[in-house]
């Protein structure tokens, strides 16, 4: 118990240093502090290497142990940068990230149809940045997610869009929040779903980086019944304060009946995984699922 208390106090002290570095040195101050903190972390914690090895051995099967070590450092450094960005945006009210232009034409067309859309995201890149950029869209936004993730996302979203609230639908509610999401889609609203984390509901199997994995399916069923598109939208840090939001795939799941439901869900999950693989080809070190993704 005493040990736990000490660790909590140490964590608080760490946060204090972190915030102080950003207050005094801005974004650069935060990035500089990351160097010793992350160095200690990757040198002292075996757990982070074990956790990320599940991903790295599949993404880079040809690497040796030293290269895996370096790759782990790169993923941790990228993730640290995301945390610095969040803290920097919170502390410095005039701070902002720079979005690199990308083609959003398909997305805008789908939203303009007024049938709603399922925005399928993943725990990669600075994914909260996608939420902060949705303020240009006229449709109301709902986010289907776990209570634990709500605080961080809500916080990030509100920093950028003070005048535009969004609704969080808790996946731990009855029927996994799916009825509320379905009603929202039928109104023409946008529903944001993290498509990579299986927490509740009906799963389907797919192949990801040559290994079977189970994924949630609610997004595809929601889109199919509402005749709305599934838009795979992912953000990536493109260096420094720059990020880019890109549409990696857009498709309309077609539901023909219960008999072919599994096939439809499998096909959709396959497209999502393919989009995710394409993303990781380009940004291999922005993978932030810190657990054995293939065992979920």
């Amino acid at each position: 118990m005493e040990k736990k208390k000490i660790l909590i106090e140490l964590e608080k002290l760490g946060h204090w240093f972190f915030y102080m570095a950003i207050r005094c040195g801005g974004y650069l101050g935060g990035r500089i502090l990351l160097i010793p903190v992350l160095s200690c972390y990757v040198l002292c914690s075996r757990k982070i290497h074990q956790t990320l090895s599940h991903y790295l051995v599949k993404r880079f099967p040809e690497m040796n142990r030293f290269q895996y070590f370096i790759s782990t450092c790169r993923i941790v450094a990228h993730f640290g940068t995301v945390l610095v960005e969040q803290a920097w945006l919170e502390i410095c009210k005039t701070a902002s990230l720079q979005e690199d232009p990308a083609d959003h034409h398909e997305f805008e067309l789908a939203v303009a149809k007024g049938k709603g859309a399922v925005l399928l995201m993943a725990h990669v890149g600075n994914w909260q940045a996608v939420l902060s950029q949705l303020n240009t869209i006229s449709a109301h936004i709902h986010i289907l997610m776990n209570m634990n993730e709500q605080a961080a996302v809500k916080h990030y979203f509100e920093l950028q869009n003070k005048d535009k609230p969004f609704t969080v639908i808790d996946i731990n509610g009855p029927c996994g929040g799916i009825l509320t999401a379905a009603a929202a889609l039928r109104k023409g609203d946008l529903v944001v779903i993290m498509g990579d984390r299986l927490t509740t509901g009906h799963p389907v199997s797919g192949i990801f980086l040559n290994t079977p994995v189970r994924l949630p399916t609610a997004a595809y069923m929601l889109a199919a019944t509402a005749e709305a598109p599934v838009i795979v939208i992912l953000a990536a840090n493109t260096g420094g304060k720059h990020f880019q939001i890109r549409i990696w795939d857009c498709f309309y799941p077609e539901y023909k009946g219960r008999d072919s439901r599994e096939d439809m869900l499998q096909e959709c999950a396959g497209r999502y995984l393919k989009a995710l693989e394409s993303y990781l080809q380009e940004y291999p070190f922005q993978w932030y699922n810190f657990y054995n993704f293939w065992a979920q």
Binding site: G173, L179, T225, R258
Partner: protein, 85 residues
């Protein structure tokens, strides 16, 4: 009310194609999800969609849905009430 119940059972058997269940087997007071007819959350989405299409009634949120999807009786009562309003 009886007509609505019959239509709901038809939706379950014909549209949702619940395996091994005939219209006459469905108990008006029996559970639809889990132990009962074995419907899952994906079926809930489709059922809500079909109810809206067939009866023009929207099940707007999960709290409402939880109670409404309890049984055929609960669903029929909800639909009838919504249609009157």
């Amino acid at each position: 009310m009886e007509k609505i119940k019959q239509q709901l059972k038809e939706i379950l058997v014909v549209d949702l194609k619940i395996q091994g269940v005939a219209i006459e087997d469905i108990d008006d007071a029996g559970q639809l999800f889990g132990e009962g007819l074995g419907l899952d959350s994906l079926d809930a989405v489709e059922l809500a969609f079909l109810i809206e299409k067939r009866f023009g009634v929207t099940i707007a949120d999960m709290e409402e849905g939880k109670a409404v999807f309890e049984s055929i009786n609960a669903l029929a009562q909800f639909i009838e009430k919504q249609q009157i309003e």
